[in-house]
């Protein structure tokens, strides 16, 4: 039993918060071991002795603040899931936090939300069995943007800062889009939860937050190695478009989820291309041990994207391998992945939700043809 028990470290300079969280998480004691530290130095000392699975840190603390602590955790223990729990609303502080943390929770945080986030973070490892790979992916601050994309955003921010143009620039770039969705996946910035359209999320954040992020280095620059980034991104955009079109025909409520899962379906390849020491073989998933598909799903789950999108990304190439809690979305993304490249391509029957009838598949092929031309 104890081997599957996960350890979580909470760091806060207010002892009452730590005590209350321990009490509140007591019912989870079978699966969760909760430890606490009153500050950054103590936390680092504790981690050096005995590693944990998840660190949840306050932002504003004397001596070392939460962003500094998490940056050091990232350096020394990259595998640990890093979460900020803060009542801070000062923009520059928040921007620093977005660089160091995987996820953000705002105080006061609903006990259920805290429990769910912890449980989800603890379950992450199952998505990517290779622990060396976990380390490399979890250390990523962001996915690189396509060369030129960040400059275009900067130019727009310096000029008229049109919300529509900013939204389009972000929505078309997997690196920027995933970063924006990462920070809007919780209510940290006051944006409503559950937005899956990166363009919409960008509009909600507003030019001022983007400007602060750009100035604080929190928007990703380019930096993929050994990968034709532009061609890779063009494929991602096409898949996103096709997946959205399929969803509109099958279940319009899934359109945003299908589009983002389409845009990020292959993000594991980009993730591995931007971590040091990756080889062509690991990136293509040819060395047997690791799969870029799993790395992509792990990364998105780590950044707090919804389970449905994570599952669609995880299943788009080897769908039979995992239980499908979102069969239609998984089918849409698998089909988009194949048909965006070749409208006549072979679909994996095991990957298609039995509820999807052959006539629908034929319609999807025609839609894919229409998007391709």
């Amino acid at each position: 039993m104890n081997t599957s028990r996960r350890r979580v470290l909470f760091v806060d300079d207010e002892p009452r918060i730590l005590e209350a969280i321990c009490r509140m998480l007591r019912p989870q004691r079978q699966e969760l071991d909760v430890v606490t530290s009153p500050g950054g130095d103590e936390a680092l000392a504790l981690l050096a002795q005995d590693p944990v699975d998840v660190v949840v840190s306050d932002m504003r603390m004397p001596k070392m603040d939460g962003a500094e602590l998490l940056a050091l955790v990232r350096q020394n223990h990259p595998r640990i899931v890093r979460i900020i729990l803060s009542g801070q609303s000062d923009r520059d502080t928040i921007v620093r936090a977005t660089r160091a943390a995987h996820q953000f929770l705002s105080k006061p945080c609903d006990p259920n939300e805290l429990r769910t986030t912890i449980a989800r973070s603890c379950a992450l490892r199952d998505l990517l069995p290779d622990s060396a790979m976990q380390e490399r992916v979890a250390a990523l601050e962001a996915l690189p943007s396509v060369p030129g994309a960040l400059d275009a955003v900067r130019g727009e921010l310096a000029g008229s800062a049109s919300p529509d143009r900013l939204a389009r620039l972000v929505a078309n770039d997997p690196g920027l889009a995933s970063k924006i969705l990462q920070i809007t996946s919780t209510s940290f910035f006051g944006t409503p939860r559950g937005i899956l359209a990166p363009g919409e999320a960008t509009r909600r954040l507003g030019g001022d937050v983007l400007r602060a992020m750009a100035a604080g280095g929190a928007l990703p620059a380019h930096g993929a190695r050994g990968l034709d980034h532009a061609a890779w991104a063009a494929n991602a955009q096409r898949t996103a478009q096709v997946a959205r079109a399929f969803a509109k025909a099958a279940e319009p409520a899934l359109a945003d989820a299908a589009e983002i899962a389409g845009l990020l379906h292959d993000c594991g390849v980009l993730a591995l291309a931007s971590t040091p020491g990756s080889t062509e073989a690991t990136r293509r998933g040819h060395d047997g041990a690791t799969s870029p598909v799993a790395a992509g799903a792990f990364l998105l789950a780590l950044w707090g994207l919804p389970d449905s999108v994570v599952e669609a990304v995880a299943c788009h190439r080897h769908p039979g391998a995992q239980p499908q809690r979102h069969p239609l979305l998984c089918s849409l993304v698998h089909a988009a992945h194949i048909l965006a490249e070749d409208p006549a391509g072979m679909l994996d029957p095991a990957a298609i939700d039995p509820a999807v009838v052959p006539a629908q598949l034929e319609a999807w092929r025609r839609i894919a043809e229409g998007v391709a031309t």
Binding site: E14, R16, I17, E19, A20, I21, R23, M24, R26, P27, L85, G87, Q88, S89, D90, R91, S106, K107, P108, C109, D110, P111, S160, A161, S162, P163, G190, P192, R203, R204, G206, G207, D208
Partner: protein, 416 residues
């Protein structure tokens, strides 16, 4: 001295007269008895009295629309012995409009010879200053609200976690106790039951869950207010950004509850399918707040004022807020069941400093700010329906696609 041809020298009386007439401000010369001896074109325009009517008459008896009180207080007798400044004289124009004049009054040599009144229209400047002060105040409140929110959120975090813990502990304790009672029945059931009653156990079992539930609800409510406070003030954003107007209206009502809750019920008909509308969030919230305050005051004027103690209950009025989309515009309506706006003043209510409220209840800037925020900053429109004794509706029409270029150009012009 006896040159045949008049030189254009500073002493030339014709030149001086021309300068006096050309001045935009009012120049009035009084003799030692406060009789008007000079009244330039500026005085004719600002005080709306032609020179031929004014000359030779006592200044204090002219039908100028002055608020004489500050004037008499500063310059008794109207002819001072040393220079006096009167910064703010409120003037009601013949068309009913309001403005503010600032005067400097300078004695002529020795004071026995009378004095010069020099007056300028500072209404527009004062209005801008007042709006700027208001904006600075909002900015300061915004910063403060963010700080307070942070201060409140820390204790709220552990209050919430502890209460959740108590709630779950209590459930566990109660079931443990139920199990013990079953066991106790095998022993001396009566004695056990007596002991439990002595400690008021049935009541505790009944009431504790309710107390905890209500505490959780109260925590939820405090969190909501703190969040609304943060959202209402929106420090830092000074450009139109796509905004959920329905949500903004709800936040504004949450923070202003105290203004309207004793006076009116609020009915919301918010179109849930509204898209995001580009507004300056802080400014839009301020505009809605001002309309709600006015609506509450209009209802007070119609129904009478309650002192909030409940000792003299007064029938509550109704404020209705509607949102919808029509013709590429977001429509926001704030209606009240108040006293209505007299037709005679309907055109003037957006003028700065125009107010029908007694001092302390209104600054006369409320609707001027609504106009600045909606018309000038967003290129929108404001419509008013009002019926005396039945109430008023203020309708804000905000374009969904503002001419971004125009706004940008305006910003570039005023900013850089």
């Amino acid at each position: 001295m006896s040159e045949p041809c008049a030189q254009r020298t500073p002493d030339d009386p014709a030149l001086l007269a021309a300068v006096l007439q050309a001045l935009g401000s009012a120049v009035i010369v009084l003799d030692s008895s406060a009789q008007v001896v000079l009244w330039n074109a500026g005085a004719e325009r600002l005080l709306e009295i032609p020179a031929d009517l004014a000359l030779g008459r006592m200044f204090g008896e002219l039908p100028v629309g002055f608020d004489w009180e500050p004037v008499n207080a500063r310059v008794p007798g109207l002819v001072p012995l040393r220079q006096v400044r009167i910064d703010e004289v409120h003037v009601t124009r013949k068309d009913g409009g309001q403005t503010i004049l600032a005067f400097s009054v300078q004695p002529l040599v020795g004071g026995q010879d009378g004095c010069i009144w020099h007056g300028a229209d500072v209404g527009e400047r004062r209005s801008m200053e007042s709006q700027l002060r208001q904006a600075q105040k909002m900015e300061a409140i915004g910063g403060l609200a963010a700080g307070i929110a942070h201060e409140i959120n820390t204790p709220m975090q552990f209050i919430g976690d502890n209460t959740r813990f108590l709630s779950e502990s209590f459930t566990a304790l109660a079931s443990a106790l139920a199990g013990m009672r079953v066991l106790a029945e095998r022993c001396d059931a009566v004695a056990v039951e007596q002991a439990l009653r002595m400690h008021d156990l049935p009541y505790l079992l009944e009431e504790s869950p309710k107390a905890i539930a209500q505490t959780l609800e109260g925590i939820e409510r405090v969190s909501r207010i703190v969040k609304a406070m943060k959202e209402f003030s929106h420090p830092g954003i000074d450009e139109p950004v796509p905004t959920d107007l329905n949500h903004a209206i709800e936040s504004t009502l949450t923070v202003s509850r105290n203004v309207w809750k004793y006076v009116a019920d609020i009915e919301l008909h918010l179109d849930a399918s509204m898209p995001q509308v580009p507004v300056v969030p802080g400014g839009f919230n301020q505009a809605i707040l001002n309309l709600v305050i006015n609506a509450a005051h209009a209802i007070e004027d119609a129904h009478g004022r309650s002192n909030g103690s409940g000792a003299h209950p007064i029938a509550k009025g109704l404020i209705t807020i509607r949102t919808r989309i029509a013709c590429e515009r977001a429509v926001v309506e704030v209606s009240d069941s108040g006293c209505g706006i007299p037709a005679a003043i309907r055109d003037r209510i957006f003028e700065p400093f125009f107010t029908t409220k007694e001092p302390g209840r209104g600054t006369g800037q409320g609707l001027a700010i609504v106009r600045t925020e909606i018309i000038e900053r967003l290129g929108g429109r404001i419509e008013i329906d009002s019926e005396m004794g039945h109430g008023s509706t203020f309708r804000l029409l905000i374009p969904l696609h503002p001419m971004t270029e125009i706004i940008r150009r305006r910003r570039a012009r005023s900013g850089a």
